[in-house]
Amino acid sequence: MNPVNYLYLAALLFTIGAVGVLVRRNAIVLFMCVELMLNACNLALVTFSRLHGNLDGQIIAFFTMVVAAAEVVVGLAIIVSVFRTRHSASVDDTNLMKL
């Protein structure tokens, strides 16, 4: 199977994630879309690793996973905390950071 097809898949997944981040309001869904984008990147990295025949991309993918896991911990904690105070998971309700 042509490894370039994985790149197309990665691009597709990234786009779905990006559009999701832009159009959805639920913070949990938003978060999932971010994860989708990260994993799309991981897929692309692994694919490039395969294409170039070295392991650099795979190593970076591991790093990304670790960082994403840490990010999820912090992010979910924030979302839960926001939900507790504002009784809503909509990101549009947390719009106090403006002048």
Partner: protein, 635 residues
């Protein structure tokens, strides 16, 4: 004996301090204390004078260094006194005439509730003037110069409850400031050129001037002339003198005779070494003197206020002195000689005018006098002697001293000599006219007395003895002064070691000049008699010619100052304010508005929605990616 010099200054200064700080408990004796201290200073002056006479000519100048005022490396401001023949002359004039004026003021100010303060100011005036003439360097002279300005301000505005007096005091102070700026620039120039401002080294350096310093000397000379114009009320800084008549009459006498206006002539004569090396400055000086002597004389002709007529006359007489001082060595001695005799007769005239006012309910309008000779015999006689002296009738003092100046003016030589001499002769004629006018309108003719504002009828009477005695003494001075000074050339021999003396070469025989002066004198008196003696004087002033009307308004000097300086200045400031508001403020405010407006618009991007921030991040990332790709494609 030498260490008596500081005492001269200290005595009146002590009086001023005591009287001004002593409070009410000195109210009863303040005037006596002030007068006593003035006479004490005169006594010290006389003692120093006789001691000086006892020494040989080259031993006469004495010097007393007191202390170093500002000891800085490369800048030594010393406080020291120098008493030479020129200073001595001034010391005797200031303390002598000043003491007589103190004495007169005891009577004149008897009913004034601020009498103690008045005598304090008079003492301060004497102290400042003595400091001015005794200083051995220009910086200390400047201290005295400013002190004189301060004292004159306080005394002219002594009746400050009158708005006119307060304004006159401010005017005198302001106009004097202009001159003071000149003096300070001159002192600074001296310091940068010669590295010192002590008289002896400055004059020594000035007299061996090179081509390069010649220009600087001219600058110094012109600045000194500006200073002299301010203090001595010479054109173009003359406008304060007429208004200064708002002060009590003894103050006018003091300002016009012994102190203040003589300071300018002193300054020029003292700086003779500088002026001798700066022909341009000398030319400016003679022009100022000639213009002022005619200016003052014309103003004096038109004034109906007796004090203002005398003020015009002072301006004119000081003009003679400045003219003589500008002529160089042929004139210095005669400038000072005229200054001294003028001190006598002008003080006498002013005290006489004060005596007349005293008897006439403080009326100053000569058109409301007339026929006073019968009621005020002493005043009439002393005023009359002063009158004969000022118009220069032989053998009164003005004859000797003014004729010498006229001869010196002709002796200047060339066309300039003719012009200056003619001005001086015309001035003498006009002097004779206006002084005769004052004399006739005040003491002769029929009574034109009018009730004063409160409806009191005037009862002219002779002033008390304490006022008459100074007038008599001054009259004696004005009669005998010129003769004594001229006897065996005593004054010339006395002063010439300081100022130097030279013979002029008048194109006319001195006798011809004397006859000429005599003829114009008779002419002036005759015209005045035709106009004011033979005909009755109208109580309301006639409209008069254009020149008369201009002269009544001081030859439009205030109007000129108003149009050129006041409105010119306010226009300039208004323009500058406009420029500042539109230009500088506009620039600053514009930048602020630009930043504010831009940030107001940019602010809208920060709307608090996570999605929109995410969009901008994606947009940015997209732009970066596209740019990178494009760059690659181009490369």
């Amino acid at each position: 004996m030498d260490n008596l010099i500081p005492v001269l200054v200290a005595v009146p200064l002590l009086g001023a301090a005591l009287l001004l700080c002593g409070g009410r408990r000195l109210d009863r004796v303040g005037h006596l204390l002030g007068t006593f201290l003035a006479f004490a200073s005169f006594g010290v002056g006389l003692a120093l004078f006789f001691s000086m006479l006892g020494r040989s000519v080259d031993q006469r100048p004495i010097h007393d260094h007191l202390f170093t005022w500002i000891p800085v490396n490369g800048f030594q401001a010393e406080v020291g006194f120098q008493l030479d023949q020129l200073s001595m002359t001034f010391v005797l004039l200031i303390t002598g005439v000043g003491s007589l004026i103190h004495l007169y003021s005891i009577g004149y100010m008897a009913h004034d509730e601020k009498r103690r303060r008045f005598f304090g100011y008079l003492n301060l005036f004497l102290a400042a003037m003595l400091l001015l003439v005794l200083a051995d360097n220009y910086l200390l002279l400047y201290v005295g110069w400013e002190g004189v300005g301060l004292a004159s301000y306080l005394l002219i505005g002594f009746w400050q409850h009158k708005p006119s007096a307060a304004t006159a005091a401010k005017k005198a102070f302001l106009v004097n400031r202009v001159g003071d700026v000149g003096l300070s620039i001159a002192v600074m120039l001296m310091f940068t050129t010669f590295g010192t401002f002590a008289f002896t080294p400055v004059f020594a350096d000035a007299s061996k001037a090179t081509q390069a310093t010649q220009a600087t000397l001219t600058g110094i000379g012109l600045m000194l002339l500006l200073a002299a114009c301010g203090k001595s009320a010479q054109v173009p800084l003359q406008s304060w003198l007429g208004d200064a008549m708002e002060g009590p009459t003894p103050v006018s006498a003091l300002i016009h005779a012994a102190t203040m206006v003589t300071a300018g002539v002193y300054l020029i004569t003292r700086s003779s070494a500088i002026f001798n090396q700066a022909p341009t400055a000398q030319l400016a000086t003679v022009v100022v003197g000639a213009v002022t002597l005619l200016f003052g004389a014309i103003v004096g002709c038109a004034k109906d206020d007796i004090k203002k007529a005398l003020a015009g006359s002072t301006m004119s007489q000081i003009g003679y002195m400045v003219l003589a001082a500008g002529l160089g060595p042929i004139g210095y001695v005669f400038a000072i000689m005229h200054l001294v005799t003028h001190g006598f007769f002008k003080a006498g005239l002013f005290l006489g005018a004060g005596s007349v006012m005293h008897g006439m309910n403080d009326e100053v309008d000569m058109r409301k006098y007339g026929g006073l000779a019968k009621y005020m015999k002493w005043t009439t006689v002393t005023f009359g002697l002063g009158y004969l002296a000022i118009i220069g009738v032989p053998p009164f003092s003005g004859f000797y001293t003014k004729d010498k100046i006229i001869e010196a003016a002709f002796g200047h030589g060339g066309t300039e000599g003719w012009i200056l001499g003619t001005c001086a002769v015309i001035g003498a004629a006009v002097t004779a006219f206006y002084m005769t006018r004052v004399m006739l309108m005040t003491f002769f003719g029929e009574k034109r007395w009018a009730d004063d504002a409160d409806g009191h009828q005037p009862h002219p009477h002779e002033s008390p003895k304490i006022m008459v005695i100074p007038m008599v003494l001054l009259a004696v001075g004005s009669v005998a002064g010129g003769f004594l000074f001229n006897w065996n050339d005593s004054f010339v021999r006395w002063l010439s070691p300081v100022t130097g003396v030279a013979e002029g070469n008048p194109p006319l025989n001195p006798t011809v000049i004397q006859i000429l002066t005599g003829v114009v004198l008779v002419l002036g008196v005759a015209v005045a008699w035709m106009m004011y003696g033979r005909r009755p004087v109208p109580a309301t002033p006639p409209l008069g010619s254009l020149l008369t009307r201009a002269a009544r308004r001081d030859l439009l000097q205030d109007d000129f100052n108003h149009v050129v300086l006041v409105s010119g200045g306010s226009h300039l400031t208004r323009f500058l304010v406009y420029l500042e508001g539109k230009g500088l403020d506009g620039l600053v405010n514009g930048i602020a508005a630009l930043v504010g407006g831009t940030s107001g618009r940019v602010r809208k991007i920060q709307n608090g929605y996570v999605r929109s921030y995410a969009l901008s991040m994606f947009g940015g990332a997209l732009v970066l990616a596209v740019t990178t790709l494009l760059m690659r494609a181009v490369a």
